[in-house]
Assembly symmetry: D2
Homo-oligomer: 358 residues x 4
Amino acid sequence: MRKVGILTSGGDCQGLNSAIRGVAKALYHTLGDSVEIWGIADGFRGLIEGEYKRMRPEDFSGILTLGGTILGTSRQPFKLMRVIDETGVDKVEAMKKTYRKMGLDALVILGGNGTQKTANLLSGEGLNVVSLPKTIDNDVFGTEVTFGYHSAVEIATGVLDCLHTTATSHGRVFIVEIMGNKAGWLTLSAGLAGGADAILIPEIPYDPRRVREMLEERARRGKEFSILAVAEGAISREESELSKKELKARRAADPAPSAAYRLMREINADSKYEMRVTVPGHFQRGGAPCAYDRVLTTRFGAAAAELVCTEQYGRMVALQSEKITSVLLSETAGRARHVPLDAGEVQAARAIGLCLGD
Amino acid sequence: MRKVGILTSGGDCQGLNSAIRGVAKALYHTLGDSVEIWGIADGFRGLIEGEYKRMRPEDFSGILTLGGTILGTSRQPFKLMRVIDETGVDKVEAMKKTYRKMGLDALVILGGNGTQKTANLLSGEGLNVVSLPKTIDNDVFGTEVTFGYHSAVEIATGVLDCLHTTATSHGRVFIVEIMGNKAGWLTLSAGLAGGADAILIPEIPYDPRRVREMLEERARRGKEFSILAVAEGAISREESELSKKELKARRAADPAPSAAYRLMREINADSKYEMRVTVPGHFQRGGAPCAYDRVLTTRFGAAAAELVCTEQYGRMVALQSEKITSVLLSETAGRARHVPLDAGEVQAARAIGLCLGD
Amino acid sequence: MRKVGILTSGGDCQGLNSAIRGVAKALYHTLGDSVEIWGIADGFRGLIEGEYKRMRPEDFSGILTLGGTILGTSRQPFKLMRVIDETGVDKVEAMKKTYRKMGLDALVILGGNGTQKTANLLSGEGLNVVSLPKTIDNDVFGTEVTFGYHSAVEIATGVLDCLHTTATSHGRVFIVEIMGNKAGWLTLSAGLAGGADAILIPEIPYDPRRVREMLEERARRGKEFSILAVAEGAISREESELSKKELKARRAADPAPSAAYRLMREINADSKYEMRVTVPGHFQRGGAPCAYDRVLTTRFGAAAAELVCTEQYGRMVALQSEKITSVLLSETAGRARHVPLDAGEVQAARAIGLCLGD
Amino acid sequence: MRKVGILTSGGDCQGLNSAIRGVAKALYHTLGDSVEIWGIADGFRGLIEGEYKRMRPEDFSGILTLGGTILGTSRQPFKLMRVIDETGVDKVEAMKKTYRKMGLDALVILGGNGTQKTANLLSGEGLNVVSLPKTIDNDVFGTEVTFGYHSAVEIATGVLDCLHTTATSHGRVFIVEIMGNKAGWLTLSAGLAGGADAILIPEIPYDPRRVREMLEERARRGKEFSILAVAEGAISREESELSKKELKARRAADPAPSAAYRLMREINADSKYEMRVTVPGHFQRGGAPCAYDRVLTTRFGAAAAELVCTEQYGRMVALQSEKITSVLLSETAGRARHVPLDAGEVQAARAIGLCLGD
């Protein structure tokens, strides 16, 4: 009998349930009655506190299209993992204890960058870990794509589409704040797909004057409306030169609740343009996964099950050159995949004349 | 030869083009070559400034699903209609002049409450006016439903759907700000359809303590997440008792950019709950109309054409008891249809135990 | 303690779960701990065979958007209800027996026309019955609208939308077969909303020559493509004059599997046009209900719960003049609501020049 | 001044307009006023017959989301290219003549496998050709993905999703016929994404008994419903062994209009199962492209423009290892990319226990 635990950690996204289903269906198909799958509640919290339950094949039916995660999730910051908190609990030891108490042969972990770090830590502690790369930010190192990403792009693009018709009718400027604090992939792809006129991402600090110039140049060509796609983590060149501490202080004192509101103030001090802000927020990470993500998660899930069956631990499944493979957790942990300045999407955006704020 | 002008005025919404198409197809089908249709640019602005063009049958092809308005629109506040501005132009006289210069036999006007007032004014001045009720707010007096409304409900509901899966996975409270400054229909229907736990609308001032109690009661029943649907114009009981002037001053001094941010502050001063704000904004009024609105606008459009053909002017087409009819502009102008406290949707919300904030 | 049974019968459609949820939430909210809800499996089959289970409040959570029915359904033709079959079971007596054995105070039944007949029969036998009108066909007598209908219209319209872009690119004729054996509401609304060039419904037998003439007239105007929306039950004038028996024999001998294929043969014997058939089939009745249906079912559900609480039995909830009301089962049973020749949708279709085949 | 012609050929699909826009925007951005773009009508037909028109920058605005192709398309079979028909026209010579008459510096061609062959032929004749790989079938050799494919997968998946809820409620077997005469990519991905229980593709001839066994095995596990995803070109093992001529004769005599109807007959001769057929048809290739295809086409379009600007002709843009590149037309022409038996999607399908009919 092989006992396999499974947990989902960090912010949720589309495709978590589809990936869980893929892992489970492949394990049952390969191992039949000689596998037991155990669901761990709310990510690492359940592993720390020993909250889990035996899953049955029917628990994995009908969840392919379901948003969120049937296992629950929680954020357990990596930097607090080794901190002994007020309750005196060493979280890592607690997780090892639960793992042993459960008698697990392997632990399948679904999560983003922070989660991969913890997965690697647990692997280093001797746990048999296999992980899957999940995040709408698409910034996990070692894989070309993470699941959740394409679904979020579809949603954010849909928002831009709807704004287009209202923008053209009225001659307005819309600022859409798209998720992504550190990585701009989502804003970049949605901005391209949604026909935005400017795309501002964390990797390319912007000069508000450049954005304003673009608006004025469009107005000269008779285009009275514009759509600006702005990542949550977009930052002006000026702010990008501040120290972390200075930036934090400035943001704390800033009444603008987020990047879109800051940008609006920066480029429209004279109220020349009629501007509107849209903040789709967590809407972007919910709902059914798109077909692309369902296929991807089924492939990732099957690959993770195979790693378990062949006892190849300490690895994260990945997509490279459109093929499923896996990478060492020790190679991916602690690294992130930001948008390089020569990314294909950046080149295409520049080629068709989009403003990237620089 | 009959010459018919057509214009769209006020905020855009789904179904404008579909309604324009309905009017045009029915006019062409009834009158054949003996009708000319003229499109007036950007609502009343085009009528004031004399900007218009001859439309051809092919201009109305392929626009059934198109969001926005092919004619353009603008906001021309009713209260400024009679004001002679710095340019010395009397807007009403200018519109009458354009109407005569164009040699129009009739003018078809698509718009919301403000537009109906101006339509009535023009009708009173002797212009042959027929109007259609358009707004996502569903608050035009004399008709059970306006076009745009159901499309916007579908979009806002989709946002709530996506948040549900992320809310349940994380145990969070989401506040979604839905359009509607004065009327709560959109928030009410989307809140019901999207399974919101509280629905706050302008017509029912809320007590923040009631919302907080609901959150706590849900937590007691093990429901760690909640979704609050809040109209842009939702107002706390306390603020509802201020004079207009006092309220304006208070809002001007308030760093919170809108209702959702105010509510978050009011109910979460102790930061007990992890809260997130979503502001879908104009996203709600863009994109293709839903099928309901396409059928409705085709019916409205055909009815407006019939009023033109039978020379019944000074009327707005309307839906009453599921039948197409029309009402006198003089009866609808200056009135609005707010959510009555015994509306069927309110009763249903109370019957299933939803919090309405009171 | 009040015990309430609930069952869904007949073909499934969107909104069943949303309606079940509405009934349950309203019962729990009104009666609190003094109500027990029992779910009966697979419609009348479960009542006949005594298969049911106690439901818990959590069973009704998270089902608002779920297609199908959590209770299961089956077709139990009314005409077989009184037939003692080979097993010697009198179905009506069996249902009464189960009802008594369960100790029910009331039975809530969700279904279409056939179901309403059986509901009325059971009501006549002394059972406390409340029903809700469900069907994508929109043909239940006594209510302006049934739930499921608007959701199906949205789906069928989406199919027509997609075909439009491919039809225009290629200059082809597409025939889309839309559900509806006896009632044409769905085809009519989807056809209007999807911009079909011809709409053929059971209530208006068609002459294939009229359809062909329309194609040729369009070709003369340079429109090389056309889209024909055809109800499953659309019938040519010639076939409509056959006796039931003759028609049955002819259909049995006809290799064309359905209406769309028959129409293609009738109008394109000379293969002049490049034609393609699309049969969306049950796709039209699946998936999440649209927002309209979710609001409607919540209102219907709350109204059904109120009838139960106030012991008004033998009634079906209904929408009349946009208000929720109820009608006697004895009034609705055995009747159907077909498209009248002067329906608003028919008038609108004629007004804009659509071909209805006559 | 550089003159660039552009044409779209073959079956239409999502993303054609988005790709055209990408090419045009990148040409205008790079070459400014020194480029003229000419649109050729209806694919090679317009080139043969000399039908084309000068495009303006505004012609490429607002088409990002539009299905179909603004240029029109037609099927011009490669095998007829060299045939001198009854009108005495040598099509290839006619195309060369038009190209010269137009004074083109380059010709950008969007199309599938057949189109690439003709593009290669024209390139061999000395025309400066750059092409883009377009088809929902995803079977163009030399690129990992074609545009249109992912959009079609989303639509076909949506159909499967809706059928799931109705299938589970009723205990039925649904057969969905998905586009793809020779390549199974679309059926394979949609089948995986839509949770089909069997996936039958042209590359893997099926044994009806295997499908039937799967149904029976599912019934044994209490699963009363099943969904079968069948490619248009799916073929039984028996038929796959016929000669082309024998197969053609058999099909001509077969009253079943397509693969789904044939399969139904093969596996349900005893009518044990309640089966329903859905034929989404051209619905799958229409409507707005998904975000993935919009990004891809923008990248492809920009790359094609760069090939034109740098005078690298005789090439098709392609995606390889997630990077944009290009391949020689002479390498891709005449070849197709079928689903290999060890494709990642096939492996994943087998890993989770799906029936592939073999």
